[in-house]
Amino acid sequence: MNTTSVEKIIALSRDLRWQIGDEFHDNLAEGIYADASEIAMGSVSSDNSKKRFRLDAKIDKIVTSKAWGFPIMILILGVVLWITIIGANYPSSMLADLLLENFHPFLKGLAASIGMPWWLDGFLIDGVYLAVAWVIAVMLPPMAIFFPMFTLLEDFGYLPRVAFNLDYLFKKSGAHGKQALTMSMGFGCNAAGVVATRIIDSPRERLIAIITNNFSLCNGRWPTQILIATIFIGAVVPASISGLASLSAVISIAILGIFFMFVVSWALSKTVLKGEVSTFNLELPPYRPPRFWKTVYTSIIDRTLIVLWRAILFAAPAGAVIWLISNIYIGDLSIASWTITSLDGFGFLLGLNGVILLAYIVAIPANEIVIPTILMLTVMATGIAGGDGVGVMFELDSAGETATILKAGGWTLLTAVNLMLFSLLHNPCSTTIYTIYKETKSVKWTVFASVLPVIMGFVLTFLVAQIWRIVF
């Protein structure tokens, strides 16, 4: 090939470009469409091609109407979350029963019968196995319910309408309407929500969606919220309305999360991510009845199992670490006790305590094991009776017993409120952090997305704690 003649072609193209001016793209696009309509005219005939299928139009009029648009959206999201949380209870406790109550002792027995040394048995079975089992038991059922429902809505064609309805609010905060969907997806799992941001074209808006996804309270955190709200918030009101009170506390936390999502999106688009203008163009596809079983199948394979697998990969070493820090001693104290003591001061400042902070450090891999870790550490730190042994996470069947242990650990209503806030505002779990890195390919943004919520959590809990102490 001849280089000079290639350069000649390129030079010629430049001259010609200059001659035809900057209307080129417009003209070409118009030309192609003119061709297209010519061809279509020759082969397409229709009785009333301009009219869309009438049922479609009717549905659209309702789901995007001023009166019904938002209530329907909130209702659907509420129902999806409700079915997820309630529906997951039974299979979750069944899995817990199987994996934690039955299989765990069986493994212990097996290990004892082959004469496995106590440290290996503890490390593998009490540490690694237990963490993995816990993650599966807590995570699998809600995700296996949430994702198929979400996917069904997606396949039906409702989700683009949600983006359409909410775009104005997102535009005000400098973000893209499709962020409404990645946010809702985040209620299921933040890692899946981060992957879902691929539907946003503009890199800037996508980054905003990725960074703020953590403000959606994910499935791993709902149980913590519900448990703590039941024990502490439900207890301060008359028994007749305690259920209602704890429910509204949890919902307030979720709404607070949405509020932070908007505020942080807005702040990002005004500061570090300013510059690019936000645009929005979205096709509203016709409704298509989803094929139920196929959708359920593919969403479990595509979303649930992939996310679960990643979570297990991260939970296994976390379990090992939990067991190790409780069983390795420096002098008289285990690493865990030692860390708890040194974190207590800072924890107190935030209205929390050293146990909670340590639990959140070791539970970075999976929010699901926060409560079991807190219980285990509290028992260890206070030396009260209970639990299954040093370094072995556990959970109790009744909220009352859990309350007894936590109160023995010095918990007050303030601790509970701040724990709920901190559970909303802390670093994403390691699965999500890893996913953020995979999606952004940037260490800088991954670190930013991980650190920003923790700092917000520190500041918020700190402020709440000081004001609480001044007022009460």
């Binding site: 072609i9 793209h25 192609i32 091609s49 096709e283």
Partner: protein
């Protein structure tokens, strides 16, 4: 392209059901590479799944297939590798999706490109079809969502459409597996050269620009006599597409 072949496909007589084997993700040692392109929301991924037997998630949501999905099937002892490209409205802009789709068709030189269109919105979809036909002439038009079009009383003259476009046209309803055997047969025929396409090129380009394109593509053909899509390259050069300039310089297009 002769209309009698299109009708033969429709009658399905040649289709050898026993010769079909869906291979899922195993894409080794294939004989032909097939690309699937199309607008978002045309059921592109459904066609892909129907051909390969894979159950890739198909979202009713633009820009779903962001990463390239691959699969394979075997028909009459020939192995076909399928590449599902991101759904795009056009190949003229510079978004990431379009770049992926465009580069695969241009540089990957697939043996056949299946263009999936929504039968109910043909005019809009033809925008992409005409652009692809500027790049490659080994293409099959998959007229999908026929069930929806029928429900909306839209009739399409498949023969005259095939004649106008110069490529085979296969009506399908991939959700219900209708028309998929005919599609496979047609892909096979185009890949093996039994059907020779003579694809349509964009006609309605305004005079001024047409002159420039002619001049430039003549110059390109002089340098690269075997290049089938010199006109399209000319379009891109006039747009100042740096990727194409680079490709010209390093000989990727030769």
């Amino acid at each position: 392209m002769e209309s009698k072949i299109a009708s033969a496909c429709q009658s399905c007589s040649q289709f050898n059901a026993n010769g079909l084997k869906k291979l899922g993700v195993s894409t080794d040692n294939f004989d032909f590479v097939i690309a699937i392109a199309g607008n978002p929301n045309t059921g592109k991924s459904t066609v892909f799944n129907a051909l390969t037997g894979l159950r890739q998630h198909t979202g009713n949501w633009p820009g779903k297939t962001v990463v390239r999905a691959e699969g394979a099937f075997q028909y009459n002892d020939r192995k076909f590798k399928l590449v599902d490209l991101p759904g795009t409205y056009s190949l003229l802009s510079t978004s990431q999706d379009e770049e992926v789709a465009r580069n695969f068709i241009l540089f990957g030189k697939p043996d056949v490109t299946i263009i999936v269109v929504d039968a109910g919105r043909l005019e809009r979809n033809l925008n992409l079809v005409l652009q692809i036909l500027e790049i490659t002439n080994k293409a099959v038009l998959c007229l999908n969502l026929m069930d929806e079009a029928n429900r909306n009383n839209i009739n399409i003259e498949v023969r005259s459409l095939a004649r106008d476009l110069g490529i085979p046209v296969v009506p399908t309803s991939a959700r219900f597996n209708e028309g998929i055997p005919e599609l496979i047969q047609t892909i096979n025929d185009v890949a093996t050269g039994e059907i020779i396409c003579k694809s349509r090129h964009i006609k309605n380009v305004n005079g001024n620009i047409n002159e420039a394109v002619k001049k430039l593509s003549a110059e390109i053909e002089k340098q690269f006599p075997s290049m089938p899509n010199s006109r399209w390259i000319a379009f891109r050069l006039l747009e100042g597409d740096t990727r194409i300039i680079k490709a010209l310089r390093n000989g990727e297009l030769a």
